[in-house]
Symmetry: C2
Subunit: 320 residues, 2 copies
């Protein structure tokens, strides 16, 4: 049921993603036209603006919670949703639970940087984070870059307001020390100005900063291209030029289009979850399902569990 | 002496800014060629990578500290520097001191948004901030928008990760409540995706978030235009189109050029200070000096002192 464009768009995306190795199951209101795909009925829904934890507790039969439960019960390999992100996180924590030793699940988003994709983690699961959370985000991001993006030895950098170790806020100063002392390939701080150019294989930050960056990237790209279009269209000469550069502009748009990835992994859980943009098109939904399938094929959850095993024990005392 | 391009560029900018009502004074090493402008000699300098507070304490005769002292002693009306931002802040705190009741000075940057300028405050003076600091940033930003940008009744919004009041981190949740209860024209949270389009007259955030946003904006605009240029130049058809849209692209670049403002006010001090980009061109330096002159003409410091007077008393107990 999730997504700003309504269930028909989600169904269309699922039909598009259906392939020999991918069998989408839809979870939604009874009677939903699934175009022949399996429907698991859920009588309830959670809106985009509801308070996550309360909504999940109050509506265990909502499509979001039921979809997560299918994974928890082993009836599905992964869950994809374009619904309320906070509710998705709460539903996943409830139905999938965290990998042993993981403090906080985190959203890992591949940024289509110029030099190749960078994993931005956390892109919004935890508005407040501690230094040891950021260290774990570094580990989770490294596993993602290795297993999904195919980077043999990913470099990890910490997003801050200066490249020097002593530049940053209290959180990044402490996280810097933890990352430096870890066995990650830590390259130090990186500034946000390098994000779209290509800052590192993995860029670590708290979920507030990551979410601000992600939305600023999207908004700035959109506004800039739109402003340029308007400037070009303001003169006849520009209009002609605009026609001629159309293919180039289209190539750029395609490269930067968030729909190309379609979604982001919610990492750190005992099952695979993909969060799609609320405003996902059918193409985005299809790509999000493919991303989920790729995560299942590469056993992202198993590899994360193994990779985090080493440093899992000391974290056990902090179950929050 | 400040700025990545060396003193000659700063001197050229000062000469360019000289006008009937603006008389630049240069502060630098003995023997500096000032092209006829007054030189106040300072035997020492502070580098871009030095630790701010220590450097300012260790080198009271550095050009940065001496320049601030001229304002503190009434021998100049404002100070402009393209040097080490942290050291500038430390030197200003030492030589100019805070306005009574101000907790923390903040950097106010005019963002060249599509719908007209927005004041982003704090853009990097305070990497860590408290909710009451953000409230004061709102007041300082309002005075800036009214007195310098000429907005009769500026609206203030809080940068967060969702428009709803309950979206954000601990800092923004608490700041939201304080802003809501204030006499500011508070419009609630705003997301970073709206920054370049035009989010509000004043956008409030902590200095870490503000600095990340500012650098991400600059970097994204630069990378995007460069990527588009490369795509266009990759085919003969594109190249021709590129020639035709050149004037449109140039108009866009000029509008977004940070040199247009040249600098940012460091607000909350008993004297006027403008921080210019480290990499400032002579044009940027000239515009930063003009920005400083405009601040003096509009008595920004006096107006801020008056505007903050009302809510100054309860803050007095927190001198940090």
């Amino acid at each position: 049921m999730g997504g700003d464009r309504g269930p028909a768009e989600v169904v269309a995306g699922a039909l598009e993603a259906r392939a020999a190795a991918v069998e989408p199951i839809l979870v939604g209101l009874p009677g939903l036209d699934t175009g022949g795909l399996e429907l698991v009925e859920a009588p309830d829904t959670i809106g985009m603006d509801e308070k996550p934890t309360e909504a999940v507790r109050a509506r265990p039969q909502s499509s979001l919670v039921v979809a997560c439960r299918l994974v928890g019960e082993g009836r599905a390999d992964a869950v994809v949703s374009a619904g309320n992100t906070g509710a998705m996180l709460a539903a996943c924590l409830r139905e999938l639970r965290r990998i042993r030793g993981v403090h906080r699940p985190a959203i890992a988003v591949p940024i289509p940087a110029r030099r190749g994709p960078s994993v931005l983690i956390d892109a919004g699961a935890n508005a407040d984070a501690r230094p040891d959370h950021l260290l774990q985000f570094g580990h989770m991001g490294s596993v993602f870059a290795r297993e999904i993006l195919g980077v043999a030895s990913p470099d990890v950098r910490l997003l801050s307001i200066g490249e020097e170790a002593e530049k940053g806020n209290q959180l990044t100063l402490e996280a810097h020390a933890l990352l430096e002392a870890s066995d990650l390939r830590f390259g130090g701080n990186v500034e946000s100005r390098a994000l779209l150019e290509g800052a590192a294989d993995v860029v670590v930050c708290d979920g507030f900063t990551g979410n601000v960056c992600l939305k600023l990237l999207e908004g700035t790209i959109g506004t800039l291209l739109e402003t340029l279009r308007a400037e070009i269209a303001s003169t006849p000469r520009g209009k002609l030029g605009g026609l001629l550069i159309k293919p180039a502009a289209r190539r750029l748009r395609t490269r930067l289009d968030p729909d190309t990835y379609g979604g982001a992994y919610l990492l750190g859980l005992r099952g695979l979850a993909v969060i799609a943009h609320g405003n996902s098109s059918r193409r985005a939904i299809a790509n999000a399902i493919r991303l989920a399938a790729r995560g299942v094929e590469n056993d992202i959850v198993g590899r994360l569990t193994a990779a985090l095993g080493a440093e899992a024990r000391p974290a056990e005392q902090i179950p929050s």
